[in-house]
């Protein structure tokens, strides 16, 4: 039953598998590719291809509400990334370095924000912000401080991911380097800053980019924690999508796709394992 010239285990060259691959990948990519392609379409209703244009991008650029939402999203992602990276790196460091009672319980606690359904975390934070009065308080604050609640929420679900990424990097660290540094008279802080941090750097960057994409992409938690006044890009797109399809959304979405895909590529490049002791 195997095709001529192929062994019984040579599944990779089976025709039906190749066909299946093509079908699945077409199904995965056709919606995204058409979305991007039709952002350059002149047709207003966006179904039939009428010609190439950049008008949709100009329109999206001149749409003040859309730009405001995009700016908010980028500022939130930027702030959340900084805080989440610092917190995540610290958690990774102490989980990597120390033995302590109830460690596996603590690790489970750290993994909770990763596993529980987003909608549960969203409504829990909504309750929290309303009951503590933070929901009403931040509205009066000047921009960008009125985004504080969303930043806080994003940090809470991003930094456990950063901790996972940084910790997997730390596993490859040769602790003799640390000892050597201390033997040579460096203080705890000097050793940390000059030996450990440079080694962690690829993990830190990869973790930061992961946090950035997670924050930029988040809809559900933002949807519940943002007040009625603050709008982020996904929340804005959600309200537009409910009203129908427009080439302007395609243009704005394409910009966001490019940002996240580029960030992901950099993160993946940096995450390719490096031999231990290097760096």
């Amino acid at each position: 039953m195997a095709a001529r010239g192929t062994g019984p285990l040579d599944y990779g060259s089976r025709l039906w598998l190749k066909v299946l691959f093509v079908v699945i990948f077409v199904m995965l990519y056709v919606p995204i590719v058409t979305l991007i392609a039709f952002s350059f379409n002149t047709d207003k209703r966006g179904i039939v291809w009428r010609g190439f244009t950049l008008d949709n991008y100009a329109k999206a650029w001149n749409n003040a509400a859309l730009i405001e939402a995009m700016t908010n999203s980028l500022v939130i992602a930027f702030l959340a990334t900084i805080i989440a990276t610092v917190l995540g790196a610290m958690v990774a460091l102490f989980l990597w370095r120390f033995r302590f009672p109830f460690k596996s319980a603590y690790e489970g606690f750290m993994a909770l924000p990763i596993v529980i359904p987003e909608i549960c975390m969203g409504v829990a934070l909504l309750l929290f912000f309303i009951n503590t009065g933070m929901m009403d308080a931040v509205v009066a604050w000047p921009w960008p401080f009125n985004l504080a609640n969303i930043v806080i929420a994003h940090v809470a679900f991003c930094f456990p991911f950063v901790a996972v990424v940084v910790r997997s990097r730390l596993v490859g660290f040769n602790r003799q380097l640390e000892e050597a540094s201390k033997d040579l008279g460096a203080s705890e802080w000097q050793t940390f800053w000059n030996i450990l941090v440079p080694f962690m750097k690829p993990g830190l960057i990869a973790g930061a980019l992961l946090a950035f994409t997670l924050s930029l992409d988040d809809f559900v938690i933002t949807f519940f924690t943002s007040g009625p006044e603050t709008v982020t890009f996904p929340v804005k797109v959600y309200s537009l999508v409910r009203r129908g399809v427009s080439p302007e959304i395609n243009a704005a979405s394409t910009v966001l796709i490019v940002i996240t895909v580029v960030a992901t590529f950099i993160a993946m490049k940096l995450q390719t394992p490096v031999k231990s002791g290097k760096g």
Binding site: L87, M121, A124
Partner: protein
């Protein structure tokens, strides 16, 4: 590894900020949600208050979840998620299998192609599906060329299941890939040499040996499907409501927070149940788990 007492200053400096953040902005909110699920809307001057809640320790919110209306929705969320998970499995298994047996230089690219959509915003991917499936969408346009349609393909269970499969497929491919990649191919050869057919080898050798990956993938897809809100909201509309949409409605339009909290906790218990099952299976098949 050092003992924490050995350098407690460093230990506390490193552990406190993250722990406190998670405690205040995650555990406390969940605690509030838990208390809220045992609360009732306060009655002030004989009128049901809109936003005052009394914590009465009532179980009525949980009991209400078992009303036939909500039970139907919970049951539907479960079978829609289960069907989506099953479809993911049927599609992802050959994909993962194919990647494992693909030429070495193709593997990274094929894996990347599977993961890449996962990095694109969920909302944007759902929007892209709307553009394909809506009545004036690309699929109906294509069908129109061969004289079919147009059909209403959005706002029904089919659209939701398709959307869930589309969105969560990478979660299934990755764990399957990881286990199939580590599968000792000589077992397959042995089975084939001893006269078993390809089909029999697959069912009797490949599937049992890759069971840990199958279980991991099932849990990883089933959990987010069960808690999904965006996909049923945008693709299913009013006709295909899932538990996530009911929760959202309690916190936004219906303004019944205690009931919404109870539903959230039921959803969380279901999630923990699924995770516990996974640990149980992982323990049983020690060594090959991922």
């Amino acid at each position: 590894m050092d003992d924490w007492k050995g350098n407690s200053r460093v230990f506390w400096t490193l552990s406190l900020p993250g722990s406190l953040w998670l405690l205040i902005f995650f555990l406390v909110p969940l605690g509030l949600l838990f208390f809220m699920s045992f609360g009732e809307k306060a009655v002030i001057d004989g009128q049901m208050s809109i936003n005052e809640i009394d914590f009465t320790g009532t179980l009525s919110n949980y009991l209400r979840s078992f009303d036939s209306l909500y039970l139907t929705i919970i049951w539907k969320s479960i079978w829609v998620s289960a069907l989506a998970t099953l479809l993911c499995m049927v599609i992802a298994y050959p994909i993962a299998f194919g990647i494992c047996f693909a030429p070495e230089r193709w593997k990274p690219l094929l894996l990347l192609l599977v993961i890449l959509p996962f990095w694109i915003n969920l909302l944007i991917r759902t929007y892209a599906l709307i553009a394909v499936f809506r009545t004036q969408g690309y699929l109906n346009l294509a069908l129109g060329w061969v004289g079919l349609g147009p059909y209403d393909m959005l706002y029904n269970n089919f659209a939701v299941i398709f959307g869930l499969v589309y969105v969560y497929m990478p979660f299934m491919v990755l764990p399957l890939y990881a286990t199939i990649e580590r599968l000792d191919k000589s077992y397959l050869e042995a089975s084939l040499d001893l006269g078993a057919s390809q089909f029999r080898t697959f069912w009797k050798v490949t599937v049992p040996l890759t069971l840990p990956g199958i279980i991991s993938g099932t849990i990883l897809v089933f959990i987010p499907c069960l808690g999904s809100f965006l996909t049923p909201d945008l693709l299913g509309g009013a006709n295909a409501i899932m538990i996530g949409n009911v929760i959202e409605r309690q916190f936004k339009a219906a303004n019944d927070w205690p009931f919404g909290s109870a539903l959230s906790f039921l959803l969380m218990y279901a999630t923990f149940g699924a995770l516990a099952l996974r640990t149980l299976f992982a323990r049983r098949s020690k060594g090959v788990d991922i």
